[in-house]
Symmetry: C2
Subunit: 253 residues, 2 copies
């Protein structure tokens, strides 16, 4: 299926499950929606934290239609699952957000590392343990009420594949780029690999394999929790927005 067909399938309710690993080389993004009153501070937060929050498009207030990543797509319907956050609590996960979209809603499309799983696979760098999410002790640069710690995705590889994985993902700065950490999980505050976040399963790392960690666009969800943001809509983790761009369209040389 091409990107339009995937989005139509999601919009019509036919698509089942996540988009991770199921959209070829299309760029996938996460989503954050905030009222205009919080949008400035969050926009500054994205500028100051481009590794977890690479901002690929921002909508005008009240306009749910994209113009750049997927011209004409409506961000209220074309993600498989949305998370509704109130005062830092996840109150609901819903298949569309028609009822939550307001005249002052602003949509932020954040590049997602779901994007480069296919590029890694084609380079022979498929994670031996899938993709696992963790909270870390890496502080984000704050902006207004937005402050907190970075969420990362972990993939594991045999040692001889590590350098290649850095090179492959380093080209995709718009979707988190090169790893922010390689090796000892404890060095970034992950002391127990069984304590994952974002509904991912605890991995069992093969002897001698190396963990690699990338900044993750789930970070704003943790920020919302840590700082009890009044109201925020995000994608549910694993459910990306599938854009019309291919990863090589946004890659550095």
């Amino acid at each position: 299926m091409n990107s339009k067909e995937i989005r139509e399938s999601i919009h019509s309710g036919k698509w089942e499950g996540m988009t991770v690993g199921r959209a070829g080389r299309y760029v996938q993004t996460g989503l954050v929606i905030l009222p205009k009153s919080s949008a400035y501070d969050f926009l500054v937060f994205c500028q100051r934290n481009p590794k977890p929050c690479p901002l690929l498009e921002i909508t005008d207030p009240g306009c749910s239609i994209l113009s750049k990543l997927a011209p004409g797509a409506d961000i209220r319907y074309e993600i498989g699952s949305y998370a509704i956050w109130r005062k830092g609590e996840l109150v609901e996960e819903v298949p569309d957000i028609e009822q939550y979209w307001k005249e002052d809603s602003v949509g932020f499309m954040l590049g997602s590392s779901l994007t480069f799983s296919q590029a890694l696979k084609e380079a022979g760098c498929e994670s031996s343990t899938g993709i696992t999410l963790y909270n870390t002790n890496i502080a984000c640069a704050p902006s207004g009420p937005f402050s907190g710690h970075m969420v990362v995705t972990m993939q594991t590889l045999p040692p001889e594949k590590v350098a290649r994985a850095v090179q492959v993902t380093g080209r995709f700065q718009a979707t988190h780029g090169a790893p922010i950490h390689i090796g000892d999980p404890a060095a970034i505050g992950i002391t127990d690999l069984s304590k994952t976040t974002g509904n991912t399963s605890a991995p069992s790392i093969p002897q001698g394999h190396v963990p690699l960690f990338w900044a993750c666009s789930v970070t704003p969800q943790i920020i919302a929790q840590e700082t009890k943001i009044d109201f925020m809509i995000t994608h549910s983790s694993g459910h990306g927005f599938v854009t019309d761009l291919m990863d090589y369209d946004i890659a550095e040389p």
Copy 2:
């Protein structure tokens, strides 16, 4: 002189003239200062137009001290010349902006192509005609009141140097990256090479040399003129802010 010494020399009034070509491989930036009420729209403008407006740091409202590009530097004093714009008119050029800085002032530091002149020189790609600024017919993506056309810098090279110049500057996305156009100036609306902007002199291009055009952070000044923005402070063209970062610190691999 290192970056701190250059800024001190500027602050104390000892520095004479522009910074173009005089700060080695330090990253230089342009500056835009706006009241908080216009800052959101301009921030979105930067997000939508990263080639002319690569935003490297944004200050909190009322805070003139940088934390990332040159920790502790005060943007009110450490650029050689500032331009004051009212309703699109350049009303004054001043050596500091103490009197214009307000509690709601927000500073935007935009990567400048002054940065890569040294890298080009070291790669044997020194422009045969210096650096010239032009208005173009390339429309920027609008945001609120900010809309208008891109300003470009032109450098000219013998044909055998063109590819190398693309490679060298392509690594520096934070300071405009690769050229946005190579060849016929008329294709981007420059029909008369003698009509320069930004106080640059009309060039005389050697027979057979090729013009290369890069997006330029003087663009917001033209936007201010075209849309008669109420109040804006910018750097004067050729007068960059010299950061503590080296160009290779921000370069892609």
